[in-house]
Subunit: 458 residues, 2 copies
């Protein structure tokens, strides 16, 4: 296993060797992308993209965000990603970690990253803060893939994921994550015990060395209204990165005693920039990937994304130590991780007779399975029109996502395996497993899984 | 592996040793159960319950059906079960098999098993045939469990499942199954290719010795209207056991070439008699179990059923060689199997501090997991009132089933693991997997899976 140390200084994305980076300041108002692609050397390069206030964008995918690095097809990237829940326990998840400190910095009128979400920077809608929290995930990137054009497919191989150790000496050797049972959870209006409703944060810990493969709960607390450094009161978890004042909360240390949660490290959110809007809320997933929240998108997995804009603009974040299918209460064990990925560009005229032929959704390939991702709306940005980014939250259902997953699996089997419709349908009924990916991300998800080994070698 | 031979003669249920059987003729009009329970010997007995026209009931669960055998808690039963799709290819699945021949016998005015379904015997509603096909599964049993009363729990350990070999010498050493992509499938009104709509039967074959662990398709055909021996025309697959005249169909031998389907033998339908109605359609599953169609209910699995009537009245059928989560097209690889089960009665006052405490739904325990079964309606017979058995077909959704599965998993964790609601909800979000059991059985299903190994030893 590769050992990744978090950035020890506040650094921008850098290339380990053969730097192909244009050192750009993040400027979301930039009218055009200023990235430069050098002539490929023919030898894959390995880039380091650290996470800090300059290299992340918070709460949105955007074709307008300037890339942090440019890579050639075949290059490797070590990419640091930070959980947007780190401020649920800053002592364990931020303190002493220069990259995280730069991102989560928030003093009156001075945030390390101001805009959080696809909403207006002046917070004129709800007054929560810049970006309004319409989108919550800290994303590292984007990565500009040289030569990528709309219609191409971006393959992203996840070669490794390692937890980001706490930099607080008090917690040396440990990594922490937060699980929020929040107002957007499936359970929230269906509680038994008082007080109702309530939001609950549970902090989990793991061994940072990877010596154990499980997480255990440390303590939990009920969310109580928090006033952010700019004076805005957050009655609920309605804006990402609000510092939780631990003098205001009551910790319950008696939580899930002896229970060991199997870790399943994965990127909750990874994807390319959509074409339909300039700023797209990170919460609802779509054809471009994004917040799919499938725990299978971890080490050993390969994602295939349809590219919608020049350069693809790959970003990753929302790292999870563990999540169950459905992500029932709204979040996973939200934990900072560093990934190693390889990025491979497939041009549109080279897709025939591959698993990417005709692909118009994010496909996962693991060692043993293909996984198609269905959503309530395959492309909600297009299907729901002008008000798509708000309407999607009221129009989702698992039934619709199952319909989409069925259609995608059928097309996948017919296109890439040469089956007739009847063959595909019979095969699905007897051998494909459909599961509930998530019911908490606006555009709800159902995934369909088919084993690779059932097909004859071509 | 135990080798089970199908009944070589038309025999009733019998006990291999220490016979405790009351030899009863199946008489659905019997006003009372005539079963007799002998004094337990203290030594578990092993019974054989063969499948034939006397030992099966077709298309319904019923508290009015006379039991085939009576067993004591702890007894073992070898139970033969027949697929109701055997007549899709009688040559491979019925011919030469005396038990199956007795069940599927159908000459004008003379059926081996007349009533098929919970509907009226005179077929006065739709004229399809006795029972109207409101319920389709051939169930072997019921088994009367001595001492069982409402409020108790019946544990059924599935110790083995072996395929029923074809008795046609032409197919020696092989077992066959049928997959019907039928009008009740999730795909049916959402087809791409012509003709639309259409029903398609795909016949699969397996090695009957268990030497291989996969199935492969043999041929397929489109359903064409079939006239049954009583002169009723079946435009679609609307009545179970209609003999398919193979001179009327066109076989396509070019189907899923080289594709090997992993076998997952299981009982699609197993359960106890419900209390709410005298005759209950086998298709929608419920608190009593029934047609759950979860492929995990196979060898090594243990089911726990809430008992609703005296004697429990356990029946099993609808055996499947393989099925995917969702059972998308309406059926699995419907294949006759023989099971070996152990039946254990747990009295209501002995459930505290066990996984059965407070149990009001069918729970599955495997070597490594607990699996809760959610349905669109936890108890549709009660919730939907007088017209429940018809209304259930128009009111199902995966969203509702997910809600039910969430609530059941929460209760299960709180009751049997002593967790608070907040602990249960956090644990579910990070470690429980919810999947789509089936979207084709009227009362749609979502199952929730939690690993047993995560909990501390008590």
């Amino acid at each position: 296993m590769m050992k990744i140390q978090p950035a020890s200084t506040h650094q921008k994305g850098k290339v380990v060797k053969n730097l192909t980076l244009s050192a750009l300041a993040l400027s979301i108002s930039a009218p055009a992308l200023a990235i430069e692609c050098e002539t490929p050397s023919g030898v894959p390069q390995h880039h380091l993209l650290a996470a800090n206030s300059d290299t992340v964008h918070w709460g949105y995918f955007s074709k307008e965000v300037e890339p942090q690095i440019a890579v050639q097809s075949g290059d490797f990237v070590t990419i640091e990603t930070l959980t947007h829940h780190a401020n649920d326990d800053a002592s364990r998840m931020i303190e002493g970690d220069a990259g995280a400190e730069s991102v989560f910095k928030w003093e009156k009128g001075d945030k390390g990253v101001n805009r959080r979400g696809a909403g207006p920077v002046d917070a004129s809608i709800l007054g929560r803060g810049a970006g309004e929290g319409f989108g919550v995930h800290v994303l590292t990137g984007p990565i500009y893939v040289c030569g990528a054009e709309p219609g191409d497919i971006l393959e992203v191989k996840i070669l490794d994921m390692t937890p980001r150790p706490s930099q607080n000496p008090e917690y040396a050797g440990k990594t922490f994550g937060s699980n929020a049972a929040a107002w957007w959870g499936f359970h929230y209006n269906d509680l038994i015990e008082e007080p109702k409703p309530r939001e609950v944060i549970t902090i989990y810990e793991m061994d940072a060395t990877g010596a154990t493969n499980w997480a255990q709960a440390v303590y939990k607390y009920n969310w109580v209204p928090q006033t952010d450094p700019d004076g805005v009161l957050h009655e609920t978890i309605d804006y990402p990165g609000v510092p939780v004042d631990h003098s205001t909360i009551e910790k319950d240390m008696n939580v899930l005693e002896g229970v060991r949660i199997p870790v399943r490290p994965h990127f909750g959110t990874m994807g390319v920039a959509p074409a339909e809007a300039d700023f797209v809320d990170t919460v609802p997933p779509g054809y471009f990937g994004g917040n799919i929240d499938n725990w299978r998108i971890g080490k050993g997995g390969t994602m295939y994304y349809p590219i919608a804009v020049e350069g693809a603009l790959l970003s990753a974040g929302d790292p999870h130590a563990a999540q169950g299918d459905s992500e029932l209460a709204g979040t996973a064990i939200e934990t900072s991780y560093t990934g190693v990925v390889q990025v491979i560009l497939h041009k549109k005229d080279e897709l025939a007779d591959t698993v990417m032929e005709g692909l118009d959704f994010p496909l996962l390939e693991t060692d043993s399975e293909y996984v198609v991702h269905g959503f309530s709306y395959a492309n909600y940005l297009e299907e729901l029109g002008e008000s798509a980014q708000s309407d999607i939250y009221s129009q989702s259902s698992i039934d619709k996502a199952m319909r989409d997953a069925f259609r995608k699996m059928r097309t996948f089997l017919m296109t890439t395996k040469g089956l007739s419709e009847d063959e595909a349908i019979s095969l699905m009924s007897v051998a494909a497993d459909f599961g509930v990916t998530q019911v908490v991300d606006g555009n709800w998800g159902v995934h369909g899984v088919i084993e690779k080994g059932i097909f004859p070698a071509k």
